[in-house]
Symmetry: C2
Subunit: 496 residues, 2 copies
């Protein structure tokens, strides 16, 4: 070994970059199933597919990254050969704005598209928080009426039920950014930067409560860790209407609307926002979507500065245990709203648009948490190799099974240790093993083994003889292979 | 306008980075359909899904980029916050090697996985040549026997037929790198660099013919553009066996094998390669895959240096017209082979592996070229807006249609110009438009319009009155909406 020194090169580490992970078998199948279910609803609602590339120019992506103040912070970016900066998309909305601007003369108007796929965030990863995750979006570009927003709310409701969240376990909550703007107008907060800070503060309502929001809108507060968080420095006169707005949810829609009217006073934009909310309520009702599915909730503001009108989010209302073992609501799995300015960046023309994004991985986590992901990945029928000189015989069996539509394979590892073949079948969740030794071949028979039945014992079995003594094993005619395997799979599925 | 100078900011260009493109509606649906068809076959063959992230460490990706001599050339890479280099995956094999090495103690052995998704190449884009494209791979890691290679060949055959390439329009060609190594051994070419050059030269056989290969193996040749291409500088004694190998394809498998025996002489590795090819032939025959689907072809070498045994590719044999209007064979849509060294980079242990990659976008292009993509994207039923004060009425109709499983939407643009609503329906390929004016509402009726019938004329119609006079329009009871729309869609589909 000593003389092999020059071969002692550093080996690469077999790990993905931090914050990235792999998905295996069932996880992939479950996500694909969910993406299919979601896009089936989007399609039924009239949206067409769009797939834009993972990479965009930094210029086209712009400064719209959510929850980040500085431009280009939070994206993975690099320079192309010609020095142009390119980046991985951080969401599916910024690429839509680029695509719509580029192809607006050829696309139908309004343009209704759905998109699904991974997005990337250059953020600090944490438990359950990855730097690549799936989104599934639907947007209508060129739709001035809030009918388009109302439609998204009912679509969200239908989508959640389609993926397996029963009515009562979710709520789509809708609000209108214009109402808050009306409140701020009425109280004389006109500075854009200050308004953005108010938005961000209100967004913390869930976490810090009404008292916390009140302090953060004023001088600031000590947070749980003892650090002092600076406030937005509104006066008490300015804070009161914001809090009134935030707590204006009534026992029903019309009570809420009435409370909101008080909060906005005479602000024109505020009153317009309220009448849009009324319209959304009316349309939801016409479509049969009652307050058990969709409700007006003034505490929904969504952090993104680019929303200009209705905003909405879908929340799962059942409780789960968090990392500390405390019961808490699962929370938001989807959000969106109206953004009339995104396309304007490119074209100079204001184009009304509205849309929604579903966080697919979070929704999957919720379904798993509730034991509602019922996808069962079944392993293949394994044709074992008893005699390595007769691979052709085994291959022929596998082909017959596959041609009959049965998932099947010949054992591809080293066949020497028969126990390993059975351990393999066990690990794969194989329903049936096929065994044909030399004697069986000569007699025109094969053994088939119900592995679901035998799984419990299989790890203790060492020899072929022991294996054959298991009661779940049957001797069949070689010519009946396909039929008998089919029957055994059906029995095994029935008994599960 | 002049005083608006400060608003004259540079607008971002609405284009994707060069070499990237968008896919709309039908294109996306067709590709998803193909991915589903391919993975259905992979699944039936016993492979499980794996989805690794788009991003890997540069270290883990290594220097395996096909057809590129320099490390990291050809990938999109950048530095993470902690200065570690990361990059977009350029294929699905390098990530598999990383995943297998990382999880080898938990994965079944052999590990059989399929993967699908985009890969990225930092290469000069060209016509039809993009920097992001789809691959769909299947690999078996930990399978020493060429039975695993044979299986891939039959799977390739089944897959091509599953996506719509009829038997006779494709051929899976298989060869063994060991045979060529045997030929080189027999002729005394032992230098690795020289061997790699020989490989690359042989790979040009399709383009330059036997005479061209002969020149390139020797002193070099003038290419069509007049440039002189340096040769590999083999002697004539060394070139002759290589050419013999390259042209050893006989009229049937046993003739080919016999010719190959002559070419490798006494080389042990060469003889081993030949016996592996014989085994593959035997297994193909046992599975019922005749020479109309899979054949041994010594001219298949695959450029990649990492292949160590059997190599295979799937070729479409029908002719298409190229850019210059010349007839040529469509060529390769898939390739793969055995690579026993990829995992060793990480673990130090040699792990036998074999697998295949299908170039999904190229295969889609082939099917479109032959008019075999029959996917028809049908637009939604459009409920037009005749009276903007009655959006709730229209929304209710849309909800009824959707709840009955019918793809439907309310027109979401500005409803003022009714002609625009019809143009929109036309552009979307909508089968039916629903029209309800105030009079109809009062009488409890609606108009439904067969747009497939009316499409021809619709672009010339300007007024509602003209539209109503079209023969494809029917007056129905409002309560019969769902049933009548269903019937009209069925009629329209039947007449297409």
């Amino acid at each position: 070994m000593a003389k092999d020194k020059k071969k002692k090169i550093m080996r690469p580490k077999a790990i993905p970059p931090k914050g990235f992970r792999d998905y295996f078998g069932t996880d992939v199948a479950e996500r694909n199933l969910m993406l299919t279910q979601i896009t089936e609803v989007y399609h039924r609602y009239g949206f067409d597919a769009l797939e834009s590339p993972a990479v965009e120019t930094v210029e086209a992506l712009g400064k719209f990254l959510p929850d980040v103040d500085r431009p280009n912070e939070g994206v993975f970016s690099w320079q192309d050969d010609d020095d142009a900066w390119m980046a991985l998309r951080y969401d599916l909305t910024a690429p839509l704005a680029r695509v719509y601007s580029q192809f607006r003369n050829d696309l139908p108007s309004p343009y209704r598209r759905y998109a699904m796929g991974p997005v990337w965030r250059n953020e600090k990863p944490g438990p359950g928080r990855y730097r690549q995750f799936y989104q599934c979006d639907a947007d209508t570009v060129g739709a001035p009426s809030v009918a388009a927003d109302a439609e998204i709310c009912s679509m969200l409701s239908d989508t959640l039920e389609a993926v397996g969240i029963p009515r009562g376990d979710y709520l789509v909550r809708v609000n209108n950014r214009k109402v808050l703007n009306g409140v701020l107008e009425a109280t004389g907060v006109s500075d854009d930067f200050k308004r953005a800070n108010v938005l961000r503060t209100i967004d913390k309502f869930d976490k810090v409560g009404i008292e916390g929001v009140s302090q953060l809108l004023g001088a600031g507060r000590l947070d749980a860790s003892g650090a002092y968080i600076d406030g937005v420095e509104l006066s008490e006169m300015q804070i009161a209407p914001v809090l009134a707005f935030l707590t204006s949810k009534g026992t029903n829609a019309s009570a809420t609307i009435s409370n909101l009217r008080t909060a906005v006073g005479n602000s024109e934009i505020g009153l317009q926002g309220i009448s849009e909310l009324e319209m959304i309520g009316e349309l939801m009702e016409a479509g049969g979507y009652g307050s058990d599915r969709v409700e007006i909730d003034p505490s929904v503001v969504r952090g993104l500065a680019y929303y200009t009108g209705p905003v909405y989010e879908a929340e799962l209302t059942f409780e789960i245990l968090n990392e500390k073992g405390q019961r808490r609501q699962f929370g938001s799995v989807s959000g969106g709203g109206r953004y009339d300015d995104l396309v304007k960046r490119f074209t100079g023309q204001e184009v009304p648009a509205t849309g929604v994004s579903i966080g697919v991985d979070r929704l999957l986590a919720a379904l798993r948490e509730k034991g509602r992901m019922l996808y069962k990945l079944r392993g293949p029928v394994v044709v074992t190799v008893m005699d390595r000189d007769r691979l052709a015989d085994y291959q022929q069996m596998v082909s017959e099974l596959r041609n009959a539509g049965i998932r099947a394979e010949m054992y591809m590892g080293n066949p020497k240790n028969f126990g390993n073949q059975l351990k393999y079948a066990d690990k794969r969740g194989c329903p049936v093993a096929v065994i044909e030794g030399g004697d069986e071949k000569a007699s025109g028979i094969v053994q088939i083994k119900d592995l679901a039945l035998g799984a419990r014992l299989s790890s203790q079995i060492e020899t072929t003889e022991e294996w054959k003594s298991q009661p779940a094993q049957m001797e069949i005619k070689r010519t009946d292979l396909v039929d008998e395997v089919k029957k055994m799979i059906a029995r095994s599925e029935g008994s599960m």
